[in-house]
Amino acid sequence: MTDDRDIAVLGAGMHPWGKWGRNFVEYGLAAARAALADAGLTWPDVQYVAGADTIRNGYPGFIAGATFAQALGWSGARVSSAYAACASGAQAIANARAQILAGLCDVALVVGADAAPKGFFKPVGGDRPDDPDWLRFRLLGATNPIYFALAARRRMALHDATLDDFAAVKVKNARHGLANPNARYRKEVTAEDVAESAVVADPLRLLDICATSDGGAALVLSSVDFARRHGVADPVRVAALSTVTPTFPKTVIDLPDFATDSAMTVPPPDRPFRSALPHAAYEEAGIGPEDLSVAEVYDLSTALELDWYEDIGLCEPGGAEDLLRSGATTIGGRIPVNPSGGLASFGEAIPAQAIAQVCELTWQLRGRAEGRQVENARTGIAVNQGLFGHGSAIITTR
């Protein structure tokens, strides 16, 4: 694939993750201003605003694009809002990218922000017996950590992963996040800390599972031509963006489903959903996992980070534990994973998270990720997966 499908990342900005207890608009606005300042542009330069929706903050959350555009001051910019669960931010980026590549605009602003409730995520309120997300709580008590724990237990049975391996992921990511000013948790965690934390959903403990956070992230994207005219000759580029859906039959149980598809009449696909996402992005970018210098993966749980190593092709299925133990995925290793500190250090601010991943890749590829820089980072991937067959893989290059 030629690089006439590239777009430039001119600016990246975040509001620090935490539990601040304020309105999500404030986080998005702060992130947007930071991204604009980073790009050396002002709000009136933006022709298109792509918002990533939060469904937990009332109607303004469902129309995040317009909410942020109004907060920045109506400017006549065109607008879109996207909801795709954990991949909402990636879809907002995809919307902006399509506008830029179609030549419909030069400069786009992508914003996602969330204010998350305490404790378990719960379904949207009211009696909703036709909503599978409501029913899984009602009929099963299947919280998100239950699904994470099912995947973790499966990994232990199939690939002999141990609780020590899971803890080692947390220890690594906590160390990576220490110097990240936008991370919520900036504290060393030991394997003993993980082992002593309460079991939430066996085999996973509290410190294996990502928290829910407040936060905001934004990107200023442009055509590569505009970037050059703007004086940025060698911008970080988005080279590929995949939001593929699963292929029938989907035989891996994911939240919020009660059951998988049946594999009785059609054999399962060669590439299960989570590996199909990055595969499509690699094809689009014309590169492979061997070209990566850094990866941000969606570590909803420590165990899930290990699954991602295989899904993005860093190793063969069953090889993730060895790869982790070798130190390859630690900063300083062959292919550092989650140098930002990952969800382990951030907690999840759903619509902001996929955007935050690209912010981190941008800073890494510029060589400006202070205290957590991956040496000579040239190519990065960010992957995530959310409810209802959503997910994304984004490749950035420089």
């Binding site: 709580f137 009602r138 099963l140 099912l150 066996d202 029938f248 039959p249 598809d261 009785m264």
Partner: protein, 146 residues
């Protein structure tokens, strides 16, 4: 004794003494579905009419092997109806041997993570999910195969 009512209508039956999940099955390509799919067969390769007329009610088989399992040590938020005090429960993901569908279900009380293993044979039964002054509300549950 309190009346026993299913916590959800039309998702399972134990009318003949064996608990079975109620789904649908495509008469054109044979693909079974649970929960019930009445809209259209979702197999992209199926050549049926895909207007729902190809889907007929189908009771799934009641045995399978454990794909994975986990437990809940903390009270989940509503709409889960929890006893007070909260009682931890275990959930198994089970691959039905015949239909090759992985289905989630709570395990019967007394069967916890220490009693389960990936690959072990289990079967369906009916158990109480929650109760109120009027009735016990039932749901499908997994137990070790007998």
């Amino acid at each position: 004794m309190k009346e026993r009512r299913p916590a959800v209508e039309g998702w399972f039956t134990d009318a003949d003494g064996t608990t079975r999940l109620l789904g649908t099955r495509c008469s054109s390509c044979g693909t079974p579905y649970f929960p019930r799919n009445e809209l259209a067969c979702r197999n992209p390769g199926c050549t049926g009419p895909k207007d729902g007329s190809e889907l007929a009610e189908y009771a799934l088989s009641s045995r399978g092997t454990v794909w994975s399992y986990a437990d809940a040590r903390y009270k989940p938020p509503p709409p889960y109806v929890s006893p007070d005090p909260f009682v931890p429960y275990t959930i198994a993901a089970v691959e039905l041997t015949e239909e090759r569908i992985v289905v989630l279900g709570q395990t019967v009380p007394g069967v916890g993570v220490d009693d389960l293993e990936v690959g072990m044979e289990v079967e369906l039964t009916t158990g109480t999910l929650y109760e109120d002054d009027e009735a016990e509300y039932t749901v499908w549950m997994w137990r070790p195969a007998r």
